[in-house]
């Protein structure tokens, strides 16, 4: 005959190793005949009361659970930096070299529609900002890079963005590019742009919605 202390040990082990909460019936089935599950559960509940882990009964099923007041320990700020997706990296590159640039222009260079999340992400991590509005019909918002962008890539200014010659030296440019391949110099200022006005932000989000519908 299995003593009550021994049954308690068994229930403890079973509940610990189980992939999901177990009912008293399920426990009974996995224990030696005649084992008093109810008594074991009561004993364990008392034993774990006030500990870092507690025995909980949810919907007639039993499980060990971290004490509620220690839940904050289970949240971890992960230091691991994110990698930018290919789409994000390409969009960032086009914005960096072609700024100030409208959403439509980015799409025209990349040849694909800009997904909503890509630009949002770049705005969110602070590498891209809204710069102003193009003085063309519809007055589209123009985008550019931020100081955080320069800082991240170790650039003193936009003039330090590597040009075509640098790219060639680095072996990035090869022969299948046209001979007249040039890279725009984003450090020159363009005049066909108005500064953003207060409230432009909201309008921008409306832009997004209509873009998506089209």
């Amino acid at each position: 005959m299995t003593g009550p202390g021994e049954v308690e040990r068994m229930v403890e082990a079973l509940l610990f190793a189980a992939a999901e909460p177990l009912s008293a019936q399920e426990l009974q089935r996995r224990l030696p005949e005649g084992a008093d599950v109810g008594r074991a559960l009561a004993g364990l509940r008392a034993r774990y009361a006030g500990r870092g882990v507690e025995l909980e009964c949810v919907a007639d099923r039993w499980r060990f659970q971290t004490a509620a007041d220690l839940g904050y320990l289970m949240i971890e700020e992960r230091e691991e930096p994110r990698r930018l997706s290919r789409a994000a990296l390409e969009t960032l590159a086009v914005i960096a070299y072609h700024q100030p640039v409208t959403r439509a222009e980015v799409e025209s260079v990349r040849g694909v529609q800009l997904s909503r999340g890509t630009l949002d992400l770049l705005l969110e991590i602070g590498f891209v900002r809204m710069r102003g509005r193009r003085r063309t019909p519809g007055r589209p918002v123009t985008y550019g890079t931020t100081d955080a962008f320069l800082e991240h890539y170790g650039l003193a200014g936009l003039a330090d963005l590597p040009g075509a010659a640098d790219m060639r030296t680095a072996g990035l440019l090869d022969l299948d590019l046209p001979a007249d391949f040039t890279v725009p110099d984003p450090s020159r200022t363009e005049a066909d742009e108005d500064p953003l006005e207060p409230g432009d932000d909201a309008e921008f989000h409306r832009d997004f919605l209509t873009d998506d519908q089209s």
Binding site: M74, R83, E90, L92, L177
Partner: protein, 267 residues
């Protein structure tokens, strides 16, 4: 026998040792000659360092002989070991020469080294058993079945190098330059064909018929409807000029009607 449990083919040797029988020859059960030697050595029931190498050599040679009689194809390793042991045996038996051959240790030292090597392999065999008899994770002991996933709050840090950025840009621009506007060449309804066809239709065009009815119906693979209409219209104007056809349009943008010019009017 489940899982990690090794197939203990030394059982045969242990059994043989207990019953005093000769070792059952089962080459498949052994990894190599050293494993056979170890199994044989264990039948001597003494510390491996104090076994009789002479007796071991005889046992091994008997094993190889038996295996050959049973027509087992023994790997070369076994035969090399056999000849080495035969040589060692002869050296152990023969009276000591005045001086050993050059660069060769005394036979007793070689025998001791073999015994030590068997002891070493035996230690590893015991280690396997000791490891396998431990409470192994996932087999005898178990971890938390339902760990509480730690909620990861990703930081806003981004890992990206300038080189990556440049690669992305160049890749982008390369694709851009590779994209050229190439409209599919439009297939046109040749004017000659239209003229030919209209001429053949003339006998049937006795009453005014709208141009869109005269022009051939478009097919998905052929020239577009616009081209069929335009070429038929151009051909009809030529035939009008030749005098074979009449055309009329009641008002601007209205349908154009065609009919064959009456023969008697021309004569």
């Amino acid at each position: 026998m489940s899982g990690f449990q090794p197939v203990l083919d030394f059982e045969a040797a242990d059994e043989a040792a207990e019953t005093g029988d000769a070792l059952v020859v089962d080459v498949d059960g052994y990894e190599g000659p050293l494993h056979v030697l170890l199994a044989l050595a264990r039948t001597q029931k003494v510390d491996l360092l104090r076994i009789s190498i002479l007796k071991l050599a005889e046992q091994y040679l008997g094993f190889v002989h038996a295996a050959r009689r049973e027509r087992f194809s023994l790997a070369a390793d076994y035969l090399v070991m056999a000849s080495w042991l035969a040589y060692l045996k002869s050296r152990l038996l023969l009276p000591k020469p005045e001086k050993d051959a050059k660069d060769e240790p005394p036979a007793e030292v070689m025998a001791a080294a073999l015994a030590f090597r068997l002891k070493k392999l035996d230690a590893m065999r015991n280690a396997v058993e000791a490891l396998q008899s431990r409470a192994r994770f996932g087999l005898e002991v178990f971890g938390r079945g339902d760990p509480e996933a730690v909620t990861v709050v990703p930081s806003n840090q981004v890992r990206s190098t300038l080189h990556e950025l440049l690669q992305a840009y160049v890749g982008e621009r390369r694709r851009e330059s590779g994209r050229r506007y190439q409209p599919a060449p439009v297939e046109a309804y040749a004017l000659d064909d239209a003229r030919e066809r209209l001429r053949s239709l003339l006998p049937e065009l006795e009453s005014w018929t709208p141009l869109r009815g005269v022009a051939p119906q478009g097919r998905p693979s052929g020239p577009p409807r616009a081209s069929l209409l335009a070429s038929t219209f151009s051909a009809s104007l030529e035939l009008v000029k030749e005098g074979g056809l009449e055309a009329r349009q009641l008002d601007a943008f209205e349908d154009v009607y065609l009919r064959a010019r009456r023969q008697r009017a021309t004569t």
